[in-house]
């Protein structure tokens, strides 16, 4: 029912968005029902609902632009006749996966729902500028006849890392979310005569992921396509087998409407839906989704990419770093990054009188309560700091000015999946954290915007952060901020199995 509303205006669902400094991605992130983010040769691709299957692409995962539609590269310019016959002329909610040396694009081709089909397009590259760029119709994969308890839209493709098998989930509200196994060689059903397995109900936008022995089914509950009145929300259940049963955190089967909330509305975004996993390797996982309404962009539907965390065996939606002042604390040592200067106690040197003293003399009125000590600002203590470049080191956090870092997006500096590059400066100063050519750290007197002063901050699965300079002069590989000693930070290759390169960002 929700899709009927959407389909009527599908061609208008990809919306040009003016450039903004921050928010759910930059550039033109307007999209609805996005596919999983695919990366090819360093470029990022997402496909969505709309006429011809619109394309969003990005050079860095932060700034996005429209790049035409898929059907422009399909002979005939539209879904194949068998797909249209099984479903209809619509093109909704695609999902894409590279299998071997080819990409399989599954897309919904609804007619009058719940009559619908999932069609398959096969291509060698995602790059529209490549001479090999072409999508070929491979026909329908699954369909619903309009009577059965199924609405064959919203395909989600899943590769089982346990055995390499390929699976497709699909469905939307009219009945069940269903699962079929695919043939990795053809992208079509491996056992077309077998009955699809029902794995969930009352949802859509299904997709599966695997984590530490569990299969997780992520679906979207609620209503879509009504802007800020959309109740879309992403929910999940897990199973030990790919075919289920998928139970939520309370043991409720998703076939009976269960589903643990993964992400609902929040901040300035209403109605998240259509989860997609973006695994960047080294234990860094992100997810994509769309919000039905981005309030900072007039309530249009936009793409977002956010950290994927794991807690107690369940996926948790992380948040991209926001501008602010932070303590940067090593998960390895518990010590905090600071400019290497002699610290001044907050409030100045004091004796032990601050402990409260003894009881008042008999008959004397109680002393007034001690006055609060204001926070230490850099302007109060920085007159003794060296004017040139200084060293960075780690020390117990004591709320001192040289330990408080302002993290802010760097203007016009690009970014990485989900975020812009950041500048990291001592709060209240222009002194900027920077990488040195020998892979160490320094604090330069002023931020210049050079690559070694731009920082990528990825939230990791446990909620800590990986902090990496955009570039290190002379370095042959990416390096990350690392606590090589309790008092010593450096830059080293990221090791996902170590706490050395994990950092907590705490608001002072």
């Amino acid at each position: 029912m929700r899709r009927l509303l959407l389909f009527a205006g599908a061609a208008a669902c990809v919306i040009a968005v003016p450039l903004v400094a921050l928010g759910a991605l930059d550039g033109q992130p307007g999209i609805h029902d996005p596919s999983t983010v695919n990366v090819e040769n360093g470029k990022y691709y997402v496909y969505g609902t709309g006429g011809g299957i619109p394309i969003l692409m990005s050079d860095d995962g932060w700034t996005w632009r429209r790049a035409g539609s898929v059907m422009q590269a399909v002979p005939g310019g539209k879904a194949g006749p068998d797909v249209v016959a099984r479903g209809g002329n619509g093109t909704l909610a695609p999902d894409v996966m590279k299998v071997g040396d080819r990409y399989f694009m599954y897309y919904a081709a609804p007619g009058t729902q719940p009559k619908a089909a999932v069609g398959l397009l096969i291509g060698k590259t995602l790059d529209p500028d490549s001479p090999d760029y072409k999508w070929e119709d491979a026909g329908p994969v699954v369909w619903s006849d309009g009577v059965e308890d199924s609405n064959a839209i919203d395909p989600g493709v899943f590769r089982d890392p346990a055995n390499g098998s390929l699976w497709l989930t699909y469905g939307s509200y009219f009945g069940y979310i269903r699962l079929v196994e695919l043939n990795p060689k053809t992208g079509k059903r491996l056992y077309p005569d077998r009955k699809p397995v029902n794995i969930a109900i009352n949802s859509e936008a299904s997709i599966m992921i695997f984590h530490e022995g569990w299969y997780y089914l992520l679906v979207t509950h609620g209503s879509c396509c009504a802007g800020a009145n959309s109740s879309y929300q992403i929910r999940t259940g897990r199973a030990k087998k790919v075919s289920g049963p998928f139970l939520d955190n309370m043991g409720v089967d998703m076939l009976q409407g269960g589903g643990k909330l993964f992400l609902g509305s929040g901040d300035r975004y209403v109605g998240p839906g259509h989860f997609g996993l973006l695994d960047l390797g080294d234990g860094v996982q992100k997810f994509s989704c769309h919000y039905e309404a981005d309030l900072d962009r007039g309530g249009i539907s936009v793409l977002d990419i956010r950290p994927l965390l794991w807690r107690d065996g369940w996926p948790v939606a992380g948040e991209n770093v926001r501008a602010g002042t932070y303590e940067i604390e090593s998960a390895r040592t518990g010590t905090a990054l600071e400019l290497a200067v002699q610290g001044m106690p907050v409030g100045g040197p004091r004796g032990r009188g601050g402990r409260g003293g003894g009881p008042p003399a008999p008959g004397a009125p109680p002393p007034p309560p001690p006055a609060p000590i204001p926070a230490q600002e850099a302007s109060q203590v920085s007159t003794t700091w060296p004017s040139g470049a200084g060293a960075a080191r780690l020390a117990p956090y004591m709320l001192q000015a040289q330990q408080k870092w302002a993290i802010a997006p760097a203007a016009d500096a690009g970014g990485y999946p989900g975020s812009p590059f950041f500048r990291i400066t001592i709060a209240g100063t222009e002194r900027a954290l920077a990488a040195t050519p020998d892979g160490e750290l320094t604090v330069v007197p002023a931020f210049s915007g050079r690559p070694e002063q731009l920082w990528r901050i990825d939230q990791l699965a446990d909620g800590t952060y990986r902090v990496m300079p955009k570039a290190v002069p002379n370095a042959k590989e990416p390096l990350a901020l690392s606590a090589v000693g309790s008092s010593t930070p450096t830059l080293e290759k990221f090791n996902p199995d170590s706490d050395r390169q994990r950092w907590n960002l705490r608001m002072p």
């Binding site: 002699q342 020998d438 160490e440 090589v484 000693g485 309790s486 008092s487 010593t488 450096t490 080293e492």
Partner: protein
């Protein structure tokens, strides 16, 4: 052998160490101090060279009897104390038993092996009936590398502040009151020469316990276990 400041060598040292004859120092014009038990964690070296411990810690050192200093541990105070009299990078290697004139005091170098990962300076000074608070200790060793090793790091911990040199170049420093933590300060990547490499350290203590530990880390931050420590170059 003469150092820049009031230094004279050699004088035979008398160190109160476990396994060594116990001879309490006798300050001039004072009653002899009561003998103290030997330092429980320190012994006199009995071999020409001592391999680093299984976890890479350097366990053989020459320690100078403590120098009285103001018990300030800020960077400025520590630097002042360290740089006051001692041109670290220019001095020749001392030997066990050498004496050094510091102000009005003649202080001796003592060769020690530690049985622990750390060198307990409190044990060292207490056993010698020397002050343990508001003092500066100097420590020297020679680390012998079987081959040139680049990209390695000196990793130290100290109670309290300390400054470290490798082959005459400052490599690490810690300031303020602190306890010894393994791999607290870690140097930038450096190169150990094949053969002898001189490590010097100055440790400033304000009060209470005092000790240090030191080892080298390889390019993967793992302890280097193939080094040996001697007390003179060329061993």
């Amino acid at each position: 052998m003469t150092l820049r400041m009031n230094v004279s060598f050699p004088i035979i040292a008398a160190l109160t160490l476990a396994g060594a004859p116990q001879q309490a120092p006798t300050p001039p014009q004072q009653a002899p101090a009561a003998p103290r038990p030997p330092a429980a964690t320190l012994t006199r070296p009995a071999t020409p060279a001592k391999p680093t411990a299984a976890d890479g810690f350097i366990q053989r050192w020459l320690l100078l009897e403590p120098i009285r200093v103001p018990g300030q541990l800020t960077e400025a105070a520590v630097r002042s104390a360290v740089e006051k009299d001692f041109p670290v990078t220019a001095t020749p290697l001392p030997k066990d038993g050498d004496a050094l004139k510091v102000g009005d005091n003649e202080l001796k170098w003592h060769a020690v092996d530690t049985t622990n990962y750390n060198v307990n300076l409190y044990h060292f000074a207490y056993a010698l009936n020397k002050p343990t608070s508001n003092v500066l200790f100097w420590a020297v060793t020679v680390v012998n590398a079987p081959r040139e090793m680049s990209g390695v790091r000196l990793a130290i911990g100290s109670n309290a502040a300390s400054v470290w040199w490798v082959n005459g170049t400052e490599a690490a420093a810690l300031y303020n009151d602190r306890q010894t933590v393994v791999d607290d300060a870690v140097s930038r990547r450096l190169t150990l020469k094949q053969g002898a490499n001189v490590i010097r350290a100055a440790i400033v203590n304000a009060g209470g316990a005092t000790d240090f530990c030191a080892r080298f880390l390889d390019t993967n931050d793992q302890p280097i276990k193939t080094l040996t420590a001697t007390l003179e170059a060329g061993r």
